[in-house]
């Protein structure tokens, strides 16, 4: 160890040099610099309270999908012929100042011969408690076993129409729960179609450039200048009438996805173009990484977060699109129950005036669409965690 000889006129600190000493890295910033970008995104997303709440709501909705048969108190096709257009039965807890637990009051039915209307009056004399984990209508659970256990069922010999009944006496609440299965999956399947197409065409345009890029760009412009709904109408009118409901379902989702990809493709292309010029890509190239490795390890993870955010923002338009198509009678057809199919029955003014509960499916539609919008906004903000 030799003594440090100070040069003339220069000050040199004799203390041993410790890079960490001058600016001690706190625990917090240390973990910030070491965190992966996905972790950073998660931290940033978590700060967006509304988006987190929206994500939780969506998660709850989607977790319910596999168990709709258990949650719905009735089967979706069960007709209660004595209770046609029955209004919703509110759930009460207290009867004559005494706590009884959740119960409903039974209906008394009479027919108003003057106005030709069904009149339902509530009989508040005897409360009928709702049963839980009970046996009711039989259903095929996941197409495997026949079962009849429900989360909650109507009282013994009573009725439980939380949201009223429709023109065939079918329980609206049960039908909305069943409808969730179709309405919620249609957005996901549709976005999968549009995501694949967008990634493929956007990737080709951004990666190959040249005339391919030019052709795809023009294609995107033309598709974006077409009004969606008339095209959806025309395409779904083209679905053969003899298709089974399941085939129609897939047909509709593909139609929805088919016209939606240009936005995503454009995002992919511009991201690819800008990322290609980044220093880290140059560095990877200089270190001898193959093209495939650069794309898979460096480019895709970088724009995937953006893509997921824009895809999330595109789902609501698909859900609304299905609702609109089914409402017009060109979308899904009755044995399949979706929120749009349910709204199709609320098409006339009589529904708004006499049976407003038929409009209830609009509530889950609005909730889900809003939740997707809020979550998408949060994701988009979080997608760029370094800003």
């Amino acid at each position: 160890m030799t003594e440090v000889v100070p040069l003339k006129g220069h000050y040199v600190n004799k203390e041993p040099f410790d890079p960490g000493a001058t600016e001690p890295a706190g625990n917090e910033s240390e973990s910030f610099y070491r965190a992966s970008s996905w972790r950073l995104m998660w931290w940033k997303f978590r700060r967006h309270k509304v988006a987190v709440a929206a994500a939780a709501i969506l998660l709850a909705f989607y977790l319910l999908i596999p168990f709709v048969e258990v949650i719905a108190p009735y089967n979706q096709t069960k007709r209660n012929g004595d209770f046609i257009y029955a209004p919703p039965q509110p759930v009460h807890l207290m009867h004559e100042g005494r706590f009884v637990g959740p119960f409903v009051y039974p209906y008394k039915f009479s027919f108003d011969l003057e106005n030709f209307q069904r009149v339902y009056t509530t009989d508040t004399s005897k409360p009928e408690p709702i049963r839980f984990f009970c046996r009711g209508d039989y259903y095929e659970f996941w197409g495997l076993v026949t079962w009849n256990v429900h989360l909650f069922c109507p009282p013994q010999n009573g009725t439980l129409f939380l949201l009223g009944t429709d023109r065939l006496g079918r329980d609206m609440f049960s039908r909305i729960v069943y409808g969730a299965r179709i309405s919620l999956t249609i957005g996901i399947v549709g976005i999968a179609v549009s995501f694949t197409l967008g990634l493929l065409f956007g990737g080709l345009a951004g990666y190959l450039g040249g005339w391919v890029d030019h052709v795809i760009q023009r294609m995107i412009e033309i598709l974006r200048s077409l009004p969606e709904l008339p095209l959806w109408l025309a395409l779904s009118a083209a679905l053969p009438a003899n298709w089974s409901p399941i085939l129609v379902f897939f047909g509709i989702t593909i139609i929805l996805g088919l016209l939606d990809w240009p936005g995503l493709a454009r995002a992919v292309r511009s991201k690819l173009l800008s990322l290609r010029e980044e220093d880290f890509v140059r560095a990877a190239e200089l270190m001898g990484a193959s093209k495939g490795r650069i794309i898979a390890r460096h480019l895709i993870p970088n724009f995937m977060s953006h893509l997921i955010a824009s895809a999330t923002l595109a789902i609501p338009s698909m859900i609304l699109g299905e609702t609109a198509l089914s409402f017009l009678g060109l979308g899904l057809r009755p044995p399949v129950t979706s929120w749009g199919v349910l709204l199709n029955e609320a098409q006339n003014l009589a529904a708004v005036q006499l049976h407003p509960w038929l409009l209830f499916p609009i509530v889950p539609v609005v909730i889900v669409v809003l939740a997707f919008n809020f979550m998408g906004d949060g994701l988009r903000d979080a997608a760029d965690p370094y800003h």
Partner: protein, 339 residues
Amino acid sequence: MILFLLRRFVTMLVTLLIISALVFLIIKLPPGDFLTNQIAELRAQGEADAAAKAEFLIKQYGLDKPVWQQYLVWLGAMPGQNGFSGLLQGDWGWSFEYDRPVTEVVGDSLWLTLVVNIAVVIFIHLISIPIAIYSATRQYSVGDYIATFIGYIGLATPSFLLALILLYYFNRWFGISIGGLFDARFAGQPWTWAKIQSLLAHLIVPTLVIGLAGTAAMIRRMRANLLDELGKQYYVTAKAKGLAPSRALLKYPFRMSLNPFIADIGNLLPHLVSGSVLVSLVLSLPTVGPILLSALKSQDQFLAGFILMFVAVLTVLGMLVSDLLLAWLDPRIRMGGGR
């Protein structure tokens, strides 16, 4: 500028040509067509004479030719039965369902569609610009939150249901009957001042319903643009030098934030036209929407094809106008002669 106009115009023509091919392909997609279905039906009823007439019609419209030839005839680029007579020559085809020329079937509904869509565009601008300025200058105020909330609701509610509900309540509260675009007593009457008044009164609900989603999107974007501009130094300097707040706001940041706003009309228009088709169906407005739906359902191909084409021309023309406005507003685009 002339070069820019020319280039924009040629692009539009090419776009329309491709759209026409797409439209024809789509209306040809379903198996069979109106006439074949009709012939089968007539044969089943044992009316050989009528079936013979329908077969004559098939010959007449060249429906036995290959699809690409049919397309060219429809377009007017290839001689059909009556020589060169197609969209390019102003012959819009024959509606099989109504057994009348398409021109007669669509008639008034064409320009009523135009009126509804223009009313909606004006409505969106009149409403969203002041609200956006208000919520950007008073960010996080109660008014801002209310505007944002209403905007989100407008974004999330299916327009057709909103139309249905408003239809009922407007009728109940204000006594306006809203089905259609004017009172029934004016049907088939010549245009008088009373009829125009009735038309304006009936336009309120459709405009509101179709415009709501667009307004919501516009407010959101405009607010974000304006907020970006308000944070910039030139605005701070202008205010520091004592320029009146409204003048400082309107003269610089507002004009800057208008740019992307006008460029966005192009994105907005397809959605508006979609919305107007859907809402027309619910409110039974005499626009092309209801005619399109029935034509699609009965495979009345020339009628459906013409309406789809009309709607596409409407959007493409609208986008051209928005591009021209943008070029007029922004010298960078005008001088660059393109993008």
